[in-house]
Symmetry: C2
Subunit: 313 residues, 2 copies
């Protein structure tokens, strides 16, 4: 695996391991100044530098294995269910019979695992920029990377922005943007031209769900995303959020939008996955998502509602 470093050859650990309690990983970033979440490290399993970012996998003492990109926790085995299930089923349970789905980012395979629970889906394209993320996930996170085993999945290694530009108009029923933060390789995925490409790639009444940061930390970013989406997507534009303990401030948000076409009411899912349990055999039961959690995710604290709903519907 390109850039792979065996444990024995590790001589210098990145700063996130050295500036705090010895033996702990701390997540320090200008995206959340003045606070840091730390996990106790049992063993570092992998560290490498890809063309795009630093990649680390460690065994934590209480959160299972942890994937870190550029010093930021992407997933832990203990709480990944919340993020992967919500970012996937919020859009897919909101439309009848999704057939063609595109995932941008999501190289760990967790979103694929969730998409493939939907029996109506015929084709799943994924465009991940960093092959190392895919390889590392397959090696260290088999219960996440299981998503790649579905025969409906086609993996494209490359730039999501360029991939979308080449997509024929109206191809997808749903696009899921599972990106990292807007500092680093994912920056363009938060900008207006990208959202325009997404809208073009969707069929009329198609849905997009993008990772959209924390209402506690990033209202200014969210405000911009909502304003952009309101201009570009002529159907519903809604913000949802959920609890993920190992993400900064303990929550993560999602921007859900639809193109003009058959109306979509995100707050009232019409395609409940709860009823169909054929997927459980290979992927295990849903741990987090259910129809009640779906609707509840759109309820916003007053401070956030004031900002978001002034720009939204």
């Amino acid at each position: 695996m390109e850039g792979m470093t065996s444990e024995a050859s590790v001589t210098k650990l990145p700063e996130c391991f050295s500036s705090v309690i010895p033996g702990w990983f701390s997540e320090i970033s200008p995206m959340w100044p003045g606070e840091a979440h730390s996990l106790k490290v049992e063993k570092i399993l992998f560290q490498g530098k890809s063309e795009y970012q630093n990649v680390i996998v460690f065994q934590s003492s209480t959160y299972g294995k942890v994937l870190v990109l550029d010093g930021v926790i992407q997933l832990t085995e203990r709480d990944e269910c919340a993020y992967q299930e919500m970012i996937t089923h919020l859009p897919l349970c909101s439309i009848p019979n999704p057939k063609k789905v595109l995932v941008i980012g999501g190289g760990d395979g967790g979103v694929l695992r969730e998409v493939s629970r939907h029996s109506s889906v015929e084709r799943i394209d994924i465009c991940e920029i960093d092959k190392m993320v895919v390889d590392v996930s397959k090696q260290f996170f088999p219960r996440v990377a299981v998503g790649f085993n579905d025969p409906r999945v086609t993996l494209h290694i490359g730039d999501g922005v360029a991939f979308l530009k080449a997509v024929p108009e109206g191809t997808y029923d749903a696009v899921i943007v599972d990106s990292s933060d807007p500092i680093g390789p994912a920056q363009e995925l938060f900008e207006k031209p990208f959202f325009q490409s997404v809208a073009k790639a969707l069929r009329p009444g198609g849905v997009v769900c993008t990772q959209a940061e924390s209402i506690w930390l990033h209202m200014h970013i969210i405000e911009d995303i909502v304003a952009n989406c309101r201009q570009i997507f002529k159907g519903a534009v809604n913000y949802a959020w959920t609890s993920v303990p190992t993400y900064p401030s303990g929550v993560i948000g999602f921007m859900l939008c639809t193109t003009e076409g058959p109306p979509v009411d995100f707050k009232h899912p019409i395609n409940p996955i709860d009823l169909d349990d054929s997927h459980i055999k290979t992927k295990g039961p849903l741990k987090f998502y259910n129809s009640e959690m779906h609707s509840a995710a759109f309820s916003l604290p007053s401070f956030a509602r004031k900002v978001i709903e002034s720009k939204s519907d």
Copy 2:
């Protein structure tokens, strides 16, 4: 103020300040092994040892002033709204015209501030065991301790368990138990005899709301609380939860129960505070709570629903 230490005389800082990045406070506890949340410290404003616990106040760089008891963050100026508003309005907005309210713990005054937004309330008793918490809050957190200024409030310094035993049967419309974790002075507030005293102190169809830990970290504690409450409270027994970034795992839960009597449907508030805004002048607007957040708080992730609803209604 008893036990008060002036800044100049501080020679030895407690361990939570010394075991991590210099200049940061880290919250390390056997209640959440293997993880720690840290806040950057600008200045330590107070440290003292009361009869019951260590009390610290510091100015953080991004969360405002922070109150710490026995090494555990109780509130920060930035996110206290979520906890105080939810623990108070979940019970009070679920019953018509609450008149007599008892607060156990809550010595910072934040719950009082929220209770006093309800114009129907005629009497607010608070029983806090540790006078130092009240004094420190009045000195350093005026926007929280403002709750003590309401003429309807009577402060009792003492043991909540003993106080409740002396309360005549059927006195209160609502009891709010704003306790710290079940290690330390609050331990008894999580045990069955305490819940029995609460039930006795409530009128028929009266409501109790108690701090009930995190579904991500403490399902075993929650399971016990639910089982106890199901035996003792013959009306509704429900679990709700909300986001509080500076609490471990980023969430906190609440146990909501009613005694036998006029039925209460916690999930559908019938006494909306949103409509009455006379309280805003002295206490500022609600930042977090609204009727949608109220109902959404009772939606549980599948992993938690499985455990809680098997013991609940």
